[in-house]
Symmetry: C2
Amino acid sequence: MDLSDRKKKILSAVIETNVKSKKAEAVSSKQLQEEYLPKLSSATIRNELNALEEMGYLTHLHTSSGRVPTKEGYEKYISELMREKKLTTREKENIQSNFANKLISIRDIIERSAKTISKATNYTSIVYSGPSNRAVIKDIKLYPVSPTTQLVVVVTNENVINELTYLGTNNEDDLKSASDILKELFIGKPLSLIKNRDFRNKVVTKELTKYKTVFDRVLDIISAESNNISNNLSIAGKDKLMEYSEFNDIEKFKKAVSIFENHESLIPIFDNSDDLEVSINVGSDDTGLEDCSVIKITCNINDGTKITAGVVGPMRMDYSKAVSVLKEVAETIENTLNTEGDYDE
Amino acid sequence: MDLSDRKKKILSAVIETNVKSKKAEAVSSKQLQEEYLPKLSSATIRNELNALEEMGYLTHLHTSSGRVPTKEGYEKYISELMREKKLTTREKENIQSNFANKLISIRDIIERSAKTISKATNYTSIVYSGPSNRAVIKDIKLYPVSPTTQLVVVVTNENVINELTYLGTNNEDDLKSASDILKELFIGKPLSLIKNRDFRNKVVTKELTKYKTVFDRVLDIISAESNNISNNLSIAGKDKLMEYSEFNDIEKFKKAVSIFENHESLIPIFDNSDDLEVSINVGSDDTGLEDCSVIKITCNINDGTKITAGVVGPMRMDYSKAVSVLKEVAETIENTLNTEGDYDE
DNA sequence: TGTTAGCACTCAATTATAAAGATTGCTAAA
DNA sequence: TTTAGCAATCTTTATAATTGAGTGCTAACA
């Protein structure tokens, strides 16, 4: 249903006034008249507010307080009324500067992104990286330790895996030979490839089966770690939430802190995003938080890695600013990671 | 000043009852009589409480509420009255199991320690590792990227450094020769050694000065990173605090969350510990938190690394349990790290 | 038909007052 | 030295009264 221009103006004004207010204060007809519509009487505005309420975009806390936007009101605003806030050059530079000057690991990228977003938006930010092909094996070494224990060290350009295990032999020469074969086979290969059973079997069976136990165990360790480092989540600005009066209720705030502290439950929300564009979920229940909104954007990296960056904030949030910041960060991430592939062996 | 046995018993009873209570309730003479001293009348106990108050160990919230321990009361209790709680075999195994089965990096150790402590004590835990000699250089590679940019990759057993920089040349052969020399000089050397100017000059000037620019830049990068990874702090269980009624005041809780979220200010507290033994700071102001206590213990690793593990909790805290857990964790850390040196190349 | 002034009505927020309950300090007796 | 008894103190809870912001509705007006 289409709104008259005046209704649009009033709905936007209610939302923007409410968002700006420190304490989530309801917006009264008088306030709207004084600040947005001096040519109308408050009674006229009241009529309009009433109409907007009947359409479901606004609501009442009680008979005699001003209006507050509903979930539907925010959705209408986001889809039709909101104008995207242009970032200033200074803001853009500020964001970009956080990624300048270094080639960085995925872990590094998501941590920096989360911090950057939370600083720029003043909301809590979550950045998640899906399975990645970026980690490439640089070195594999096997050390004898004791008859029943050997040390496996695998170095990638993203991290170092080291794990004690039992390889079936503690003979230094055997371990040397086995690791030489492994090195020849796998150095330069992405970690994620090792998870692929077909690839493993194809490559390994060609060789001597003498070291089968060693190979299996080492490749299992690599596979496991590959799953591990490919699921990376970073949260920044957990303390931002508390600036919003929605969380002045101590129970709500405690719940929020607890959810962010034990953040496994948040992964699914950021994992299944195929969206190229910004996605906004108003009043998202999935977070486990009441009346919170989640905005997210997915970056597609050349090598197939997907990074999803988002903010979590109160439903009453500055969507426009958040969207602009997310877009800028996403673009910066893609630029940083996609122009780099050439020389990263 | 020495207390009579009865006074000792009463002071301990007040503290233990207060600590056990959910809501930091003051302890009354009647309660003490019923639960600890059935043979005395409440009036007698009141007289003793009064005496203990005059000595500074207890205080009043207002005329007609029970007694609450003061900072001095806790200190007296800790130094003279408290008996250290023995952990059960099960609790010990629980702690140790968190460190089993893997050779781990310092980062890993401090994260695991913090989680373990916070789980075992139900307080927030902070673990800090001072400068370390553990990171040993495993590989150094230099890649040409563009006339003005080269990529430096340094692999250690603790992490991977990669940084874009300008090395003065983009010639592949030159970079190869330079990195070969660097590898020969530095592989197997601890990262921390590179910071040492004397060592650098001594080792590098012996060689051709042809690659001086390259050497200087690469070693600078390593030095910088060495400073970086040697100062490691991990916090776990930030949400534990909120279970204690002291933090039901939303402002206090917010402050605590904010301090833990931006934790730089906590480093000095955990950095300057020379103590081998447990140190307890009741009502520590250094944290920026009101009426909080900090308990910490320092582990000395063979290679000179110092790891300080601690808990932060309300002044009204179970000191006995916390001390036992810290001691157990410290011992486990030392065992884990000190028996491992042999086979970690 | 859309706009507006005016006024009764509603309900949260604030303030005031009273009553109940827990605990102490003190006194005097055991 | 210990204890019973009691007034005094101060929090907590409950209840009531007051205030004030803001709406909804009606009737008049452009």
